[in-house]
Amino acid sequence: MSNIIIEIENLSLSISKKEILKSISFQIFEGDFLSIIGPNGAGKTTLLKCMMRINSGYEGTIRFRGKSTHKMSQKSLARQISYVPQSNGRIFPFTVEEFVMMGRYPHLSPFTSFSVEDKDVVSKALHLTKTEHLAHRQLNTLSGGEKQIVFIAAALAQGAKIMLLDEPTTFLDPKHEAEIYTILKKLNRELGMTIVSVTHDINSAVLQSDRIIVLKDGNVMFIGDAQHVMENRILERAYEKSFTFLDHPKTGQKIIAPEVAEP
């Protein structure tokens, strides 16, 4: 196996006396494409936020390349890890270019403006995500799908090796969903970035990622190769419901058939 890039050890977190994460331990390898799935309220978003140190009041240790993230400044952490949050409502009228440029913040030293290198990285991020044509549009005039891709471009401009994404394709139409997975695959395969994505879309998680973590009630129920999550009634136990499986006509991988409601 390749190098461990993030190591999580006995991670616990309670928010107003409710235990959200219960002593979680696992490792993420360099170049991983890891999906985190699990029912609502399992602690998926909280786990991402602990890794980005948005939640910092946890117990246990999170190490980046062997170094506890608590010993890193927020800025130096942001140079290693970037984060794409769940689509959040309110946005001031920034242009796309201004917004993506703000991703360069961890590389700015005080009192300096953006350098040629910063501008270069930003135009590469816009190019890679095919959002150059949006550069001068106002962020709040974009469609949901365009906005999400621009958020990924901004995280990319941060120049980190790891990208955490919280439900990147929820609420998106199939075209934008496909575009986002194409971008993430490219980042993962061509740039060697480590991708950690929280999702409710089990089929996409299986088809797109290398490994999957199933979280339930703040515990890791399963961690392993994406295909194996379909075995041993893991999903049935996680979601407390039955699933119908079928084979993907192109790849032959096992996927979940869409549900037909029976009143």
Binding site: P93, F94, M102, P106, H136
Partner: protein
């Protein structure tokens, strides 16, 4: 796109210079350029140099301070209705200053006058209270913030009323007149009082331009981009309370500049604080000089308190902002 923003900024710059150059010549006595160059002893020249010029400078500083404070609050609370006035910061400062007037203390620490220090403490108390309440209630809703602001406004206003009740007639009138806001100052002393608050406070805001940009996206994104949110917010709360305290203790609580100026600038130039901060600074300063000139000229020889003018212009604007819903559309999308 970018060029347009530089042009808007340039226009605002010349607007500010223009207002600055014109305002001291206007008033009950119109003064010509030859007069002010005359030797000392000329009454009109004295009016120009010792009364009008310091007044214009003070008004500009106060306007700029209130405007960029409003802008900083709007970024931190992610809400266009957050201003020194609506958050109760002004009334906190006003109470501090009134209390100082009432107890009749006279002291200064490191050259900072007692009244300004009291105003600063009042301002800090308000902002910590309102921010604390808004933060504990999840989701940072407009309603929570406004209610907390109204509550603390009421609280401090009642305390001010109480202090007035305890005062004799002369003191009470002095307090009322001061609460209306105004720049009836003579000489450069009051200007020098405001200056350190103005310089230090706005310097901190200008240094934190990148951080302000990221704070408008919310604490989560700001953290993920590497902003030390707690430290930055503490610095901004300090800077804004410090400048607002300094201004309010000298000029009284002048409302609505903090909301109007940054909002208009955001419509003109967008939300990027690299442009928005200097724009709000220039526009706020120029606008308050304009209002102050109106206050001197409209019913001369009497004066309308400048607080009355900004509120009369600002009140309807505030309602329009609330009712049109443009605060959601144009500012947040």
């Amino acid at each position: 796109m970018k060029q347009r923003k530089y042009i808007v900024l340039l226009i605002l710059f010349f607007l500010a210079i223009g207002v600055f150059a014109l305002a001291p010549f206007l008033g009950m006595e119109s003064i010509s350029i030859e007069t002010i160059l005359k030797s000392k002893g000329d009454v009109k020249a004295d009016i120009f140099w010792k009364i009008r010029l310091p007044r214009v400078i003070a008004a500009f500083c106060a306007g700029a301070v209130l405007s960029i404070s409003g802008m900083a609050f709007q970024a931190m609370f992610r809400n266009p209705l957050a201003t020194p006035f609506t958050l109760g910061v002004s009334s906190g400062a006003a109470f501090g200053a009134t209390l100082y007037l009432k107890i009749g203390l006279i002291f200064s620490i490191f050259g900072i006058q007692g009244q300004s220090l009291f105003a600063f403490i009042g301002a800090v108390t308000s902002i910590i209270f309102v921010y604390g309440i808004t933060k504990t209630k999840k989701g940072f809703s407009t309603a929570t913030m406004l209610i907390a602001g109204v509550a603390i406004n009421f609280f401090f206003s009642s305390l001010i009323l109480f202090l007035q009740y305890l005062s004799d007639f002369a003191d009470s009138f002095r307090i009322i007149r001061w609460l209306m806001g105004g720049f009836e100052i003579v000489g450069f002393r009051p200007v020098l009082t405001i200056l350190p608050f103005f310089v230090i406070g706005s310097a901190i805001v200008f240094i934190l331009i990148n951080e302000l940009n990221l704070l408008t996206l919310g604490d989560d994104i700001a953290l993920s981009r590497g902003v030390d949110v707690k430290k930055v917010k503490a610095a901004l709360f300090f800077a804004t309370s410090f400048m607002v305290g300094g201004v309010v203790s000298t000029c009284g609580p002048i409302g609505f500049i903090g909301m109007m100026a940054p909002h208009i600038c955001r419509l003109l130039i967008g939300a990027e604080h690299r442009f928005l901060t200097p724009a709000s600074f220039l526009f706020g300063g120029a606008f308050l000089v304009f209002c102050d000139t109106l206050s001197r000229v409209l019913i001369a020889p009497a004066e309308i308190p400048v607080g009355v003018i900004t509120a009369l212009l600002g009140g309807p604007f505030f309602l329009w902002l609330l009712l049109s819903g443009s605060s959601e559309r144009s500012i947040f999308g």
